[in-house]
Subunit: 315 residues, 2 copies
């Protein structure tokens, strides 16, 4: 086993994942803890108790953290860094706690292409990881998509985050699936795991991709009444409509960033696969990167760029 | 007091409203009862118990009912009448119960302008009422909007319901307002009753009305983070975005039906006022009709068109 060098942590709203890493960012051990929403201000105690075993065995370890840990509900409020943002600037804007033994990565802000303010916190670290793992992203223009509760579409220009746009696609899907009369609720809510309903939703949306989403959603109910959609396909069909709308809208909005005719996806494989097929319907290739691997690579990259930590041997 | 002639009933999912009417459709008395979802199959008993007093005083009374009472969760399943549908055909397609002393108005179906099946149940009666109350609607092309949980946009041609399109605008608003992280929840959820947030949402959406709705929703959160929107204005701002998207999308879809440069709105005054200002932003006049008055006028019109009821004097 190589020498432990630092701790990387992705501390989101609902989960904390800590990784003990060597100097090259290889994971030697990991731990899980409560998300920022559950910690309710007690970040130092939760953090120290999770690190106690590693510290006992390996001595003091610097840590770099990203996600909601840097938000208003986090350990310290780390200001958003405005775009365009180069990776080195993101690392330089980390906020140091405890004499520099803990760093928190800043989120990013921009004025998005709809002319509204926009924000990310956590995804910037995945973008740093993608730049590290995919050197081709460091030059030219690239469009990336980080699907999730709040999907982020990101324009990279010569390795800098130029601007981005958020679509709450995942949140909208979950709300409609779980609470709406458009999708069967209760006993009838079991959804068909095969991709037929999803593919049908994609194809139906794309048949008229300029039709407004709001005027397509009722189809999830009406097609069942018409005998054109099985009960169990309603939720996947809804997912197809939403993701098709997300992809079609983003491709129109970011047309100028689509130089390579391909989109890089960062996220959980289940979601990146859904987005890949939606992109395929537009004739675009998708390059998928696992979101957890991207986070980890980004945290390791930030750690390499940070000033040497003050190691507090009198801990 | 004129002579009671029939009972008109709007029996929706959540409410039943019964009106004792004279031969001209004037309301002499009214009663309220449980919606179709709460009745759970016991329609005859609920109906008879609500009518008992009137029957005791005035003898047997024919009744005409509309809404979910004619659906799969209703008293009798009344098939949807396909569009285009003329008023007299709607009346002729009523289903008679109890030897013709109770009639239920059919809902309507169509293939909407997005190429999907679409349905209404209850709104067809409001449309009959609008045709009765606004004779100008009986000739030419007119666009109507019935805002609500599931907003209906309706094209009338020479007094017939040509086709329609559903947008679940009200349902989406309620879900996002009550469950989403886009709008403050809990203690912070109090929403500003003045129309500033709504007007801002309308104007912001219309500034870029071809931008997809899905990519504008996150603004409800991001503008608060940016200090550009008060907490209490987030829900009205969301309402502005949604209604602006509904109106802009429907106007594009129904452009050919907009001969008069005006739209007739049927609904509760609070909602028709919101839609009227969204239509005003497109330079369109709005003519609002109260939804309850339209229902009642429609039921009275159906009653006039029905064959004379078999009055069961031996009741």
């Amino acid at each position: 086993m190589t020498e432990p060098s630092f701790v990387a942590g992705d501390w989101g709203t609902t989960h904390l994942r800590l990784f003990l890493c060597d100097a090259d960012g290889r994971v030697l051990d990991s731990a899980a803890g409560p998300g920022a929403a559950a910690v309710r201000g007690d970040f130092p105690r939760v953090f120290d108790s999770l690190l106690a075993g590693w510290r006992q065995r390996f001595g003091p370890l610097p840590a770099v953290l990203c996600g909601m840990v840097g938000s208003s509900i986090g350990w310290a409020q780390v200001p958003y860094l405005p775009c365009p943002a180069r990776p080195a600037r993101i690392a330089a804007a980390c906020v140091a706690l405890r004499d520099g033994s803990v760093h928190i990565v800043p989120g990013l802000s921009c004025e998005n292409r709809c002319g509204a303010p926009d924000y990310m916190r956590g995804e910037e670290t995945q973008l740093l990881g993608a730049l590290e793992l995919e050197p081709a992203l460091r030059a030219g223009r690239h469009l990336l998509c980080l699907p999730g509760t709040h999907t982020k579409w990101v324009a990279l220009e010569d390795g800098a985050v130029h601007d981005f746009l958020t679509a709450p696609t995942g949140e909208l899907f979950a709300l409609l699936r779980d609470h709406s009369v458009l999708v069967p609720q209760g006993d009838a809510a079991e959804s068909n795991p095969d991709a037929g309903g999803y593919a049908k939703g994609l194809a139906e949306f794309n048949r008229l991709s300029h039709a407004p989403l709001l005027h397509r959603l009722f189809e999830c109910r009406a097609r069942r009444l018409a005998g054109d959609l099985a009960e169990a396909d309603a939720a996947p069909y809804l997912s197809g409509l939403l993701i098709a709308s997300d992809v079609a809208g983003a491709l129109r909005t970011f047309a100028g960033s689509l130089v390579a005719r391909s989109v890089h996806l960062i996220g959980v494989p289940r979601l990146t696969a859904l987005y890949a097929s939606a992109l395929g319907a537009h004739g675009l290739a998708a390059h998928a990167l696992d979101g957890a691997a991207a986070s980890l690579a980004g945290l390791a990259q930030v750690q390499r760029w940070l000033p040497s930590p003050v190691t507090a041997h009198d801990d």
